[in-house]
Amino acid sequence: MSPRDPDEDEMRDQDAASILLLRVALRLLGEARLRGNFGAEEALAERAVAIADELTGGKPSPDPRRAGVEVGLIRPDRIALAAPYARSSAVIENLMVDGTLYGGGGVTGYGPIRSEPEELTEEERAERERRRAEWLARTERSRQFTATRFVRALTPPQQPGAARPILAVLLYEDGFWLESTYDKEPRPFDPHMDDEQFFAKHRRENPVIMITDDVGTEYFPSGGATAGGVRVHHSSEGFAPAPPASARVLRITTNDETAEVGLTR
């Protein structure tokens, strides 16, 4: 999915779909409130199509595979509505019979995707297998740290003047979180930069973290990472394996700074 904002046409189509969805929702609610429920699902779906047709003057749905407004029954007093605004993109809302809306938003990429079977050469098949094996190995490593059994937290000595002070190592039985912080100024908006350039530029802002210990353990990223904040970030990155019992110190290097965390306490 692209992080780029939808273009103006798409936004206009999305707004139109939202408004149609709400107008259909009001009409369905106007009928349902008298019964105290939304009735049978099939009749409801047909009714939604009929109302949408009436409101749009029979304009075709933006997604030819789907009705202009689709409705599903969540339970007798709740329905889910979707109005496509493009092929495989729709706005959605849930509605309760008391008039409460919830769970609204947009969905993109729903619907079946059909791909033609490919004829691969022997070489292409081998390359695909190789890449698949690499992917499996990467996935295996990324899942190694499960962060389920916490052992203890360790903190390094003060690091005055450090650009990215290490705050703590949260040790678990199968890996650890490394917690650090760094200042960050707001990113200036460059209208000439596309998504790829934007992310490439800001990816470089995050330095690679190297972790070693005194017994030569190879540590690798695992378990994911989180970071966030305005003008100052707090970051938490997962690594595996857990330091072995024989290790006495972890050395954490970011850019030109190294912090040591004692493991023997």
């Binding site: 009409r27 709740r78 809306l101 200042d183």
Partner: protein
């Protein structure tokens, strides 16, 4: 000029009065009936405006200091819905019928009449509006200082050190992992047990706005440094709600006084003492 967002908002605001109508044939056309309808309105989403009020729809529109959705009789069993912002002198309005049909969106500037026709009440509302806007502008520098302070409080130049909480805390309760001490505040990092999936993400919750993960992540917590400092929460952070246990962080002001030797963190059932002198 009304845009699609305004139009959507207006349609959304019509839903709750329609739902609250229940099995009645038509919207009430008198004050008592509309006020009774307002009493029955569901709460709606947490972010939705909550203040509804009756107006007769005949006099000049009111402008109150609170965001208000005015409901008035529109004839033929219909209801007029008029949201009013404290920051705009103008509004959009729509008529909703009991069968869910809606009329066109109408846009009104100011009071919809020339100044010469303004009533005393309308002039008072306009004066109050202008005063609000003026006060807001006057308060902007103070607000900017507040924003600057809140965005820079935990920058690295204010960092003193992190202090690990003791190992071997109760395995099934909340676990304090470490404190981060700043000149300007305190961060409490902790783990909480992850509730079962069905409790966290029920397929069809009775209350679709309930936030069980937030309730689990942010239980009642008290901080005691032995010196009587009163700590105020200034930020809450769901560091990782997908893990089990979940990780969370609360940020407080002011900073822990240098004279403090211990910080005691109390959850409902567990108290953890963190020795600040240990290293």
């Amino acid at each position: 000029m009304a845009d699609a967002v305004d139009h959507r908002g207006l349609l959304e605001l019509a839903l709750r009065p329609l739902g609250a109508l229940g099995t009645a044939e038509a919207f009430p056309q008198d004050r008592a009936g509309i006020e009774a309808l307002i009493e029955r309105l569901p709460k709606g989403r947490p972010s939705e405006p909550k203040h509804f009020a009756y107006e007769d729809g005949k006099g000049l529109p009111r402008y109150e200091a609170e965001y208000t959705i005015w409901l008035s009789p529109a004839g033929d069993g219909a209801l007029r819905v008029r949201p009013q912002s404290p920051w705009e002198l103008g509004f959009l309005t729509i008529v909703v019928h009991p069968d869910g049909r809606v009329g066109d969106v109408e846009e009104v500037e100011g009071f919809g009449v020339p100044d010469s026709e303004l009533t005393d009440q309308a002039r008072a509302d306009r004066d109050a509006f202008e005063r609000r806007v003026r006060e807001y502008e006057e308060d902007r520098p103070r607000h900017n200082v507040w924003i600057e302070e809140s965005q820079t409080r935990f920058r690295t130049e204010n960092l003193i050190r992190a202090v690990a909480a003791p190992p071997g805390q109760h395995p099934n309760g909340p676990v304090v992992t470490y404190l981060t001490l700043y000149e300007t505040g305190l961060m409490l990092n902790y783990l909480v047990p992850r509730p079962p999936r069905q409790e966290m993400w029920p397929d069809d919750p009775d209350d679709p706005f309930a936030e069980p993960h937030r309730e689990a992540m942010f239980p009642g917590i008290e901080i005691d440094d032995g010196l009587g400092t009163e700590y105020e929460v200034v930020d809450i952070d769901s560091v990782d709600m997908n893990s089990s246990p979940m990780r969370a962080r609360l940020s407080y002001t002011p900073g822990v006084p240098a004279a403090a030797e211990t910080v005691r963190v109390s959850f409902d059932s567990v108290t953890v003492a963190i020795d600040l002198e240990a290293r």
